[in-house]
Each structure stands twice: as C-alpha cells, then as structure tokens.
C-alpha cells in the first residue's frame, strides 16, 4: 500500500521524531520505504529518515509491502498526525 503523510510537528523529522518513526516502523514485519523529493530511505532506519531532511510542512510518500501493511500504515499515520507528542 501507499500513503502520503504531511509532517505537522514543529521540528520536522529531527532526532527524536525520527527515532520514534523508525522504532514504530521496526515493530512491523512489512518492508517500509519513504520517499521525498526523489530521495528514498528505509523507514526502519533513523539515519535514513534524518538523511531525508524532512521539515514541517513536507509531504512524505510511504510505500509499505508485507503482511501487516495496513496496520503499519495506520500506526505511522497516527504518529505523524499526533505530531509525535510535541506541543
């Protein structure tokens, strides 16, 4: 499955949000890739995520392939929509 996520938290995907995103992604069996501006990375890797330089307002394309794709998509969307718990 594919979904678009718009990043709304102030810091963008800095260390803490990137770590939360990677840890959440890692809890699923599916392969998860993220794409931004022609670059892509492994959603289970904090380094990959931070390397995309995602800022507030950017939109990510997330491609999920595997047995728990639907759950993974929903969980990642929730994380982003909740702004990673930031104020």
């Amino acid at each position: 499955m594919e979904l678009n996520l718009q990043i709304k938290n102030q810091a963008g995907l800095h260390a803490r949000p990137a770590a939360m995103f990677a840890q959440k992604a890692s809890s699923f069996k599916s392969n998860i890739l993220i794409f931004k501006d022609g670059k892509n990375g492994n959603a289970k890797s904090i380094i990959s995520i931070m390397g995309l330089g995602v800022k507030k307002g950017d939109t990510l394309l997330v491609k999920i392939d595997g047995p728990d794709a639907a759950e993974a998509g929903a969980a990642l969307k929730k994380l982003v929509d909740d702004k990673f718990g930031e104020e």
Partner: protein, 570 residues
Amino acid sequence: MWKIKGIAASAGIAIGEITHMQEAVHDFCRLVDASQTPAEKERFYAAQQAAEKELEILQERTAANMGEQQAEVFAAHKLMVTDPSFVEVVLNHIDNQASAEAAVEDAANEIAAMFAGLDSEYMQERAADIKDIGKRLVRILLGGTAEVNYTGILAAQDLLPSDTAALDLNCVSGFITALGGKTSHSSILARAAGIPAVVGIGSALEKLNNGDTVIVDGHVGEVLVNPEEDILDDYRLRIKKEQERAALLASVGHLPSETLDGHHIELACNIGTPGDMEKVIAAGAEGVGLFRTEFLFLDKTSVPTEEEQVESYKAVLAAMPDKKIVIRTLDAGGDKQLPFIGGLPEANPALGLRAIRLCMVYQDVFKTQLRALLRASVAGNLHIMFPMIATVDELLSAKALLQEAAEELTKEGIPYKSDVAVGIMVEVPAAAAIADILAEEVDFFSIGTNDLVQYTMAADRMNEHVAYLSDYFQPPVVRLIGNVAKAAQKAGKWVGMCGEMAGDPLATPLLVGLGLTELSMNGRAVPVVKHRIRQLDVKQTQKWADDILSLRTASDIKKRLEEIALQFEI
C-alpha cells in the same frame, strides 16, 4: 603574551596548562581476503554489542552527573549503532573485502557526509554523532579501552559527545576547540558542567603547545596564551570573586526575600510552559508572576479545547499549590497571529487588534479560556491577569465575561474557586494615567515594562535606530511606574512588575522605593535580585526613589543607581 579570539561557549574563567587531546591514530589493514568476510562480519557484530554496552554506561553516568537531557545523545547513539541503514552500508563494505574497521570507518564517513550536506546546523551536528560512533566501533575493534585521563585546559579539534562524557570533570578546568559553535555538543556539555569554554578558534589551535599557560575567558570568548604575571594575578582575582559570588548566590536560594527592615518583596518567575515550573522551584522563587498562555494557541490549527487548557493551567498551579500563580490571558494578535483566527495584516500591529482587544472580538475563544482558568483554580492560588488594558470599559467587559463563565460553571455544577484574584498588566501609558480609577476595579497591577517603554517612548523596540529611547530608565517611564504604584497603594492593592526591568538588580532599589512588592523575572535573575533585596532598607530606598524621580535624563538615573549599587556586596 598573545590572544586568540573565539566563540564564548560556556561562561567563566579558567587558568591552566594546555593538554592537547590525543587524536587516536589507528593503523589497521583495510583489505582482507574474501574468505575472511564471514569472520569480519562476526567481529563487527561483537563490536556493535560492546558499543551498545559502553553507551548504556555513558548514558547512565551522564544522566547522574549532568542530567537526563545531556544523556539523551547517547540514547540516540545506541539507536544509530544498530541502525539498519548503517549496518547495511557496513556489511556491503565487508562484502567487498573491507576489514570490519575499514567498513565501519567508511560507512560512518559516508553517512556523516550526507548529514553535513543538509542545510541545517542541527543536522550538521548529527554528522559529528555518526563519526563519533564510527570512532567508537573502530577503537573497540582494535581492542582499545574508553579510559582517558586529561588534566588542565583541554585543547582539541572538536570534542565529541563520548570524549566529553569520558572526561573526569574534576581534573579538566577548561575547553578550547578549533571547531564548533554555541550549539555544539561540547558547548552544551561545558555549560551543563559549568566548565569555561572557548570554541571555534580555528587553526590557532595548532599554535598552542602542550604545557603553555593559558587563561580561558568563557565570558568574552578569548584565550590569553602565556600571559604575564600581572595579568595572571588579575584573572586569579576575578576567578576568586566569581567563586565568592557563586557561593554567595547559591546560599541565598533558601533564604527569605526580605529587606533589612523586614519588608517582604515577593520574587516570582516568568514562564512560558508548564515544563518551566522545575526551574522556578530550583531558582528559589516564590511563585509565578507571569505565565504566558500563548504556547497553547500559537502554531495550532484549531482552538485548544477547554480540557486541554485546564490540564496545562492545573499543572502549573499544582506545582506550587500554596504560591501565587499569575496567569495572563491570551496575548495574541499583532505580530503573533493565530492561524485559526486569520485576519488581515495590519499596518501597525503593535497598535492594532491584539491581546484583550482581540479577545473581546473572539469572545467564544476568550470565554473558553476563562472557563478553563476558573476550573483549574481549584488546584492552587490562581490570579488572572488581563493584558493590554487601556480603558475601564475594556476591564469591565473582560470581568463581565469572566462572571458569565463563572455562572455557566455554577449552572453546570462544575467546581471552581469563587475568590480568584483578578488584575491587569499595566503596559499601555493610558492605563498608567488612570491607574487610580483602574485600581478600584482590580485586585492587583503588574507592570509590563517592555511594552510600557515602547508605548511611552513611541519607539519600536526592534528598531535599532531608536534604541536609545528603548530604556526603562527613561524618566517618563520611571515616573509612570511611580504613579501606578502610588495609585495601587492608595487603593490598598498590591503592585508588581513582570517586565525585563524586574530582573535588573540595578533597578531593584528604585522599584522597592517606589512601592512595588512583587518582582517577576527569569529564573536566573532571582538569586542576584534576592541578595540585593536582603541588603536594602525600605525607608532609605524611598528617599532614593524620591530623588530619582526628579532626575532629568535616563543616563542621570542610571548613574545615580550605579552609585547606589556600589554599596552592595553584589
């Protein structure tokens, strides 16, 4: 003697001998035979585990010595050591016959280069993180230990987080680095540990020799190399004075904020989020004189719910349940636009639809906040403060809305305190001019000097060309403060201050003399101001204040206050 100019990264002065940090030079073979590939992978996995263990210990030690926040960087390092992208790059290199050491070093450098190419200082700092991890793994692969022993003034290209965490901070008295800025790890850690540091000195680092005597002046960002004896004496005296000052201020923390003749001047803090309460308590303050509630509203796409607000207000009140907590209602508009309200750009935002004026237009938003405040009032000693009041009508309509909110809660059977104190922020000269009238309608005044100066002097405080007018020691400002205090006293109400002036120890004798009984400031200013208050005699300050009210210029007033300050210990 010669001087090096750098960036002042951590305040304080240190004198000592230079020790250059040994940049570990590692020799290892880079290429291995293809048959060795599985063994090299095993070595990498073992090093990875050892690194995780080391980082765990570093994280615990740093948390204990310098606080959880400083330790977080090692939690991030732990994640990076096992990061799938990092591991993938390392394993690829090993598959191409690289030794584990070469694979780790190359992978770390490649990823660091990617981070360094991103256009933010923050991400460039992350490049230092990944290099640090690479070095750690290489050292472990070569069988090295993490122990280091440095004394004196440590000079280095850059101090990586693991370098600083492995230092014995009792032996190192200062840092000098060639790279880095105010926000680098080394600077942040130096500040947290209270060690003077000058960073970003560039190639001057190479001119420093082991054993050179240097003075590290972390206040101005200077390193004095091989100074003459009289200069050394000068700085030794400054260090001694700083130590005495620090010891004295630390001892003031738990003492009451009382003048010599027994008058209590309440010292409070200005805060922006409930998370700031820890600092308020640590500063030895007696409450909150200004809680700015904007954080709940700005940068939000929708109005914060009543529940959300109740929770935040309660968190602050409950942190000091028996202390006075002054919460200012929404001060938005002007240059702080609310996304969910919209509105047109104004030609003159400082004089436009902002603060109480905006709230009276968007009454539903305002009433929700007032309901939330009343509901939270059961958790402590709440004082509600309206910003930007200029007329009695504004104050009366705001109070009427508060009354309406209270009646709603009564009807709904929701508990709240019925005797919540209500006051206004005096920051518009109009309010200062009719302070006697307003005093009849409030429980307290709090003077906001930043806006009061801007409006009184008709000088934009962000405009450097009129900066000479933006001075709270300007006689018209001082006189207005005097008027407000007199009007409040006459009506039997208390008057405080929550602007920048409140935290300036130079102004303390004047403010006490004018009759202010509460000063709210940044936590850092509390010990100095408290110490000053403890040396004052109120009768004497009143004489000074009378005298100062007759002075003609801001520089006259400042000069007089500086003369007065000479008699205080600090």
